[in-house]
């Protein structure tokens, strides 16, 4: 075993650990991140006033906070309907901030679900507001948090399309379709993007490949028509 020396000190009054002052912060960036995380958890544990925090079950989830957040979400959706997109974005962001500040020892599964709901809303609000890069970033996160939901890929694909990344948009739609082959909107968008791509390539993205027997059938049909 190798002994590692870490440049950290403990302050008993604030009950927090920190980097010693003689080291550069940029060099110990990763350690600093871990220290912050540890301090947050420790602070919550102290303020909980119990030896062991409650088990993170869905039952012990803070219902009061959930109701508050539901309200925030509702009002954001209302702003969306009134086409006040910047306001909606703000409200979704505030909701997400509240979500971040939930007690850390709560059920993460529930927290994550809540977070995803806000993320979906914000991605859509960004998109409608024309902030396609932000919309893409949110959708990209959605694609990794809720990968099996076709709509995540639909959102990402749409943002990619607006950003001009046609090939990426195509593969987004295709990936979405792999989770639900009959998704109407995705099929529509895929068709649309293929048209766009062939337009960008001078009508030639898919060079038409016809097999010989098919040509014969076509010719036969044409002859029948003439007769």
């Amino acid at each position: 075993m190798t002994d590692y020396y870490l440049p950290i000190t403990y302050d008993s009054t604030t009950k927090k650990i920190s980097l010693t002052e003689d080291v550069s912060k940029s060099e110990w960036k990763d350690l600093q991140l871990e220290i912050t995380q540890l301090n947050t958890l420790a602070a919550e544990l102290i303020s909980a006033n119990t030896d062991i925090p409650k088990a993170p079950t869905p039952q012990s989830y803070n219902k009061h906070l959930s109701a508050l957040m539901k309200k925030m979400h509702d009002s954001a959706v209302k702003s969306m309907k009134e086409k006040k997109y910047p306001e909606a974005i703000k409200q979704f962001s505030v909701g997400m901030e509240m979500n971040f500040r939930r007690p850390k020892f709560e059920s993460f599964q529930m927290t994550l679900q809540e977070f995803i709901i806000f993320l979906i809303g914000r991605s859509e609000a960004y998109y409608l507001n024309g902030d396609y890069i932000d919309s893409f970033n949110d959708a990209d996160l959605l694609c990794s948090l809720a990968a099996s939901v076709p709509e995540s890929h639909l959102r990402r694909g749409l943002s990619n399309f607006k950003l001009g990344n046609l090939i990426e948009a195509k593969s987004d739609f295709e990936r979405g379709l792999s989770f639900n082959q009959d998704h109407k909107k995705l099929k529509e968008e895929l068709e649309n993007i293929l048209k766009e791509i062939s337009k960008q390539n001078g009508e030639d993205y898919y060079i038409k490949v016809v097999y010989e027997d098919e040509v014969e059938i076509q010719e036969e049909k044409e002859e029948e028509k003439k007769n």
């Binding site: 295709e174 989770f179 960008q200 001078g202 490949v209 040509v215």
Partner: protein, 645 residues
């Protein structure tokens, strides 16, 4: 022979052969590898593609042409007159000298140490006692000392006498009991002979005043040369990975991938930063920092050559020439992490290096920077044209205006090179289990791609014979399904006027298979190395009407077996070019795993034997139950992920 138990090669009869065999053992493999190397190089430029290459490296001179030439002459002196060639020459001269020496000294002939009574008596080994006796009498009469005439010289006399003794001995060996036993046991009628060890070196060389030469030779080879060469070899093995990158570099890549923050997007610049931390660069230029290397590479891909002085430019080219190898090492490591994002970004970075193009700066116009004379600032950005295929749809004057190049010769060269740009199109893709019509569970499958290489100038509807695309399954193809792939000609060199190494061996496409479920690599990516580019030489009319359009094949062996449960599995296949922007392929592909047992049970329904039927049905139901449990496991996982959403 004296007191020594060793028989030295005093007459210089054996040692030339000894030396000769040593020389030949060295020369023949060296010669073979030299010849093989020479032909491997020329084979790359095969007859079909010669025209293709010639047209590619035409008149265009890059702004760094002088430095590129210098690099080239420094890196590759000459293929024919390499160092190996001189070693070979020296060896061959030595061999001929030794042969000549051996021939000139072999006149004396060998005194055979063996004793063969049959030969001495000049009879066949199957001779009867009577024949032996009569031959002996004849010979002893001829060689008897009393019969020798007095005129013969003293020396001749002696020889004849010894011959007579020998004849006597031989006769005794064949007739007398004791001598015969001696002959059979020790190979000599007189009993055991003194055992000698032949040394193929003259005596003066071992025991005389020149013995120090031999001692020195032994000391040099066993005390110095052997340990040094072994340690050098081992050091080399120890400090470089199989992919040819330094172990420190590989360790750096691994730590980057391990600590990769999924929230941070890996960009081309990120990859270049990792690359510039490589140990290889530090070993070459110990005084420079990783940051410095990074800036040099950035200058190269941005084509900021005017600001760099010539000496730095040489350094840049040296560094840049090594980047593809490093990227390849990175790809290999990232593939084991199954990280699709990093693998595809690394390939993208490789394109930047090969073409000296920075797509983050050039936005959507980087496809055109691969053509000669084209400059980003001059491109008319009002025209919405981002791909070469679209470019060839424009009228002549539009093309000229778009690239802002009015010189007709230059323009013609651009068009020529643009036409030879390999665009890749997918004809068909399927998963195949050798010897099966369907994809069976838990079996070894491979992905079969049928690919068409076309020029961006070729357009329209082509007609293909469907049957010609179907591969017949013969015993041969079942044995090695990949033969058809390797039989295609190797991919011709890339048109890369800025990259310092011409005729790069490492080009082509990387084919990776990605699981749609988690967007990770399902297999290690494989490189497409063999593909015919012959379609590029056809003009549009030939292209459309030619019945002999060449459709390429690529097969990717899946490392893992197909899933054990029946169902549809979704993949995404990605063909990414290592050399060019704008000729990648990206398409979804479905693997439908079917159960061969269902076909079999249908057959058994018609079978006469009822008992057997029941048994088989039982077996089947067991099998289905097993599948059910496995499927329920799978759905469990699925619902979990849906819960999250």
């Amino acid at each position: 022979m004296g007191d020594s138990r060793y028989a030295y090669d005093e007459n210089a009869q054996v040692w030339p052969y000894f030396v000769l065999s040593i020389l030949i053992v060295i020369t023949i493999p060296l010669f073979y590898s030299y010849i093989a190397n020479f032909f491997a190089g020329s084979q790359r430029a095969k007859e079909d593609d010669k025209d293709y290459i010639k047209k590619k490296f035409d008149n265009y001179k890059t702004p760094i042409d002088k430095n590129l030439k210098k690099f080239e002459s420094g890196a590759k002196k000459s293929k024919v007159f390499s160092r190996k060639f001189f070693v070979l020459c020296v060896l061959i001269v030595l061999i001929s000298a030794v042969v000549q020496y051996a021939v000139s000294t072999s006149g004396g002939g060998f005194s055979s140490g063996g004793f063969d009574p049959f030969e001495i008596l000049d009879i066949s080994s199957s001779a009867t006692e009577k024949e032996i006796k009569s031959h002996y009498r004849k010979l002893s009469l001829k060689f008897h000392p009393d019969k020798i005439s007095r005129d013969t010289s003293e020396a001749d006399k002696k020889e004849l006498e010894s011959r007579f003794v020998l004849i006597n001995k031989a006769y005794k060996a064949l007739t007398d009991e004791v001598t015969r036993a001696n002959y059979e046991k020790y190979g000599h009628p007189d009993g055991p002979q003194q055992v000698t060890h032949g040394i193929a070196l003259p005596k003066w060389f071992v025991e005389g005043q020149y013995s120090w030469i031999l001692t020195l030779f032994y000391a040099a080879s066993f005390v110095l040369l052997l340990p040094i060469s072994v340690s050098l070899w081992w050091n080399n093995v120890k400090s470089y990975t199989k992919a040819g990158i330094h172990v420190d570099t590989a360790a750096n890549f691994v730590s980057k991938l391990m600590n990769n923050n999924p929230a941070e997007v890996v960009k081309i610049n990120t990859i270049l930063k990792w690359i510039s931390e490589s140990k290889e660069f530090q070993l070459l230029y110990p005084n420079d920092s990783a940051e410095n290397f990074y800036f040099l590479i950035q200058d190269y891909i941005n084509r900021n050559f005017l600001e760099i002085n010539s000496k730095d430019l040489d350094k840049t080219l040296r560094i840049v020439s090594m980047v593809p190898i490093l990227i390849d090492g990175l790809i290999e490591i990232a593939a084991t992490f199954r990280s699709n994002d990093i693998v595809s970004k690394a390939i993208e970075t490789n394109k930047c290096i090969i073409q000296a193009v920075n797509p983050t700066v050039s936005k959507k116009y980087h496809h055109f920077l691969q053509l000669p004379y084209v400059e980003l600032d001059k491109i008319d950005k009002k025209i919405e044209c981002y791909t070469l295929e679209k470019f060839f749809n424009l009228a002549d004057f539009e093309q000229k205006n778009f690239l802002n190049i009015q010189d007709d010769n230059k323009f013609q060269e651009i068009i020529e090179i643009g036409k030879k740009f390999p665009i890749i199109k997918l004809i068909s893709a399927e998963f195949k289990v050798p010897g099966e019509k369907i994809v069976t569970p838990s079996s070894h499958a491979h992905l079969v791609l049928k690919i068409l290489i076309k020029s961006p100038a070729q357009k329209g509807q082509i007609i293909l014979n469907k049957e010609s695309l179907i591969e017949e399954e013969t015993l041969e193809s079942l044995k090695n399904p990949f033969k058809i792939v390797s039989e295609q000609p190797p991919i011709p060199p890339t048109n890369a006027p800025f990259f310092p190494i011409k005729n790069r061996q490492h080009n082509g496409w990387y084919c990776s298979l990605i699981l749609q479920r988690d967007n990770k690599l399902s297999d290690l990516p494989a490189r497409i190395t063999n593909l015919s580019f012959q379609n590029l030489n056809k003009d549009n009319k030939q292209f459309l009407n030619d019945g002999n359009l060449i459709v390429g094949t690529f097969k990717l062996q899946l490392q893992a077996t197909t899933p054990p449960t029946i169902g549809e599995y979704h993949f995404r296949c990605n063909l990414k070019s290592l050399d060019y922007f704008g000729n990648d392929l990206d398409f979804p592909i479905k693997m439908k795993v079917e159960d061969p047992a269902t076909l079999e049970t249908q057959k058994t329904i018609f079978s006469d034997d009822e008992d057997e039927d029941e048994e088989e049905n039982e077996d089947d139901s067991d099998f289905e139950q097993e599948q059910d449990t496995e499927e329920s496991d799978f759905t469990d996982i699925n619902t979990d992920t849906e819960d999250e959403g």
